[in-house]
Amino acid sequence: MSSVEIVLSGLLISALRSATPLLFALLGECLTQRAGRINLGVEGQMLVGAASGYGATAFTGSPWLGLLAGALAGALLSLVYALLTVPAAANPFASGLAVWMLAFGLSAYAGTGLVGLRIEGFEPLAWGLTPSIVLALALVPLIGLWLYRTRTGLRWRAVGESPETARAAGIRPWAVIVSAIAVGGLLSGLGGAALSVDYTRTWAEGMTAGRGLVAVGLVIVARWNPWLALPAALLFGGAEALSLRLQAADSAISAHLLHTLPYLTSLAVFAFTCLRLGARRGDGGAPAGLKAVFEH
């Protein structure tokens, strides 16, 4: 293999590795937004997922239990968001931020005992892949097919477009919305656990560093389509992998400056998507129920 191929193949794997936690959160938030709710608390859900996942792995020795614990923690936390926005009618943006704030505190609190603990993560598979990467990649077609080709997926899409119409068709919108929020929580928690247990194998306060927020923005870039979640997540992952490589190659450029690359890339793509969506007269694929939230 030529050196270019080596660099490139390594880059793809690095990008995948970096994108995986984000991909989980992205798929989760995609489903939540498809049901018409935008949950900024994804960042918080990832954080509690990271903390619980790390703790569970440290205490049981099993990274799989860690992923499970993280997923459950994320789902539990998402129920706070569900309680605030479904039976009560609190502002969805503020509710997400409140969940984030709460989760930051909870994960920092629980995490004080975790700093310095070491874990054994997953055994790596072929080509530098790990089980969490494979799981994330498998979820993309599963969720995509489920959303577009099954009846429940159709009902979720209907609720996201118009809860009133769905109700008139005999669906119970609140059940769908709560499920979507919970599934979003499950997947973000899973993503957080994948971050701490698999990607970095450490715990640090606030370690998700905005990945959850990036996920919320990238859902729009992915046009609410689970199939497009993979390339969208790779945008961020690729930028991060690239910045790590540049940092290793040329230590003259500060790691911190390079670290802004993933955020700036995500923001740029997000802004570009909003511009294109605004220019078109149609809906651009947004669930109609979300538009009122965005165009306040």
Binding site: L84, A88, L97, G105, H259, Y263, C274
Partner: protein
């Protein structure tokens, strides 16, 4: 915007307070602490002594400015969470002025660094404002992402080009010369930034409630289309309010750097941005209420360090309590909103 203090509002405040105390008690119970004792310890650590009071006010100052930074764009319907990033960037530009002219006399340096801080914060707010106006980019997401970028820029400078080669502990810039340090008040660590924050708050309150500009903002927030018919420009006001908000947060950043830390270092905000958002939310757009609430939240957070020493509870417990406050207020407010809506239409929304 809620300017009234009628019986309904009082009832909501009471219910929120009750929910908050209940949730906090639950949390303390879960972590194996006696709830009443904990609440007492928090009160003690926040207002129990002159020192504690000073620390609370100190903590509250940047929170108040960040709350104002959130409130101002909110007057025209913008939900910006960018105070954190604007704070960092203001600290960055203000520090730049100090590092460029370390020998300058205080009478020149002090206003210069404050102005630079305000300008830096305003600049950092300009980008999301323009994105919103030109491309309908949702300002909540854009400001949140930019917060991380601003913090990273500060970290870069502090670890890199501006690093003080003689610093012992964490990387930081050189210490600010005395001419660049905001004076403190009353023998405590409370600094003149507080006076600045209070003065600006009162000024903003007057502008929002008494002037034509405040009326323009009210109209655009209530119905942009109606405002358009009256010849008012939503785009212009979005940019203006974001610039003002950014300037306020930038002031918070440079004030914190100049008065409290005495040099630029990473992680200088201590979460003031998000706490400021919480305060702005609790205050429902009323500046005077934001002053009181900033003191409340500042006291709560300042108690964290005290708690760590007296009760052996990690200071992050107060972060949890802050989150519970936000959740309690949102829950009670949301529940009442739902009750009012269903009474009006008879149909449950979902």
């Amino acid at each position: 915007m809620d300017d009234g203090l009628g019986s309904a509002a009082l009832r909501e405040i009471g219910l929120s307070a009750a929910a908050f105390i209940a949730l906090s008690a639950l949390f303390f119970g879960l972590i194996g602490r006696e709830p009443i004792a904990m609440l007492g310890a928090i009160a003690e650590a926040s207002v129990g002594s002159g020192y504690a009071l000073g620390e609370s006010v100190l903590r509250a100052t940047p929170i108040l400015l960040c709350a104002l930074a959130t409130l101002t764009p909110a007057r025209v319907g913008q939900m910006s969470v960018g105070a954190e990033g604007q704070l960092y960037f203001g600290a960055l530009t203000g520090t730049g002025v100090v590092l460029a002219f370390p020998q300058a006399p205080s009478v020149v340096l002090m206003p210069a660094l404050l102005a630079a801080g305000a300008a830096g914060g305003a600049l950092w707010a300009l980008l999301p404002a323009l994105l919103r106006v030109a491309a309908r980019v949702n300002e909540t997401i854009s400001t949140l992402l930019l917060n991380y970028v601003a913090a990273l820029l500060v970290t870069w400078l502090v670890y890199g080009p501006w690093k003080n080669p003689h610093s012992q502990g964490w990387p930081a810039t050189i210490d600010f010369p005395d001419a660049a340090r905001l004076p403190t008040l009353w023998d405590s660590r409370v600094h003149a930034g507080l006076l600045l924050a209070l003065a600006l708050a009162v000024l903003l309150h007057g502008l929002f409630t008494r002037t034509r500009w405040g009326l323009v903002l009210d109209i655009l927030r209530s119905n942009p289309r109606a405002g358009q018919q009256a010849g008012l420009s939503l785009a212009r006001q979005i940019v203006l309010t974001m610039l003002i908000g950014g300037a306020l947060a930038g002031l918070a950043g440079i004030a914190e750097t100049s008065a409290v830390q005495g040099r630029l270092q990473a992680d200088l905000s201590n979460g003031a941005g998000l706490s400021g958002f919480l305060v702005a939310w609790l205050a429902r757009g009323n500046v005077l209420r934001a002053i009181a609430l900033a003191l409340l939240v500042g006291a709560l957070l300042a108690a964290g360090d005290g708690l760590q020493m007296s009760a052996g509870v990690p200071s992050s417990a107060t972060l949890v309590v802050q989150g519970l406050l936000f959740v309690a207020v949102l829950g009670v407010g949301g529940w009442r909103a739902r009750a009012m809506a269903s009474r009006r239409t008879g149909a449950v929304d979902v």
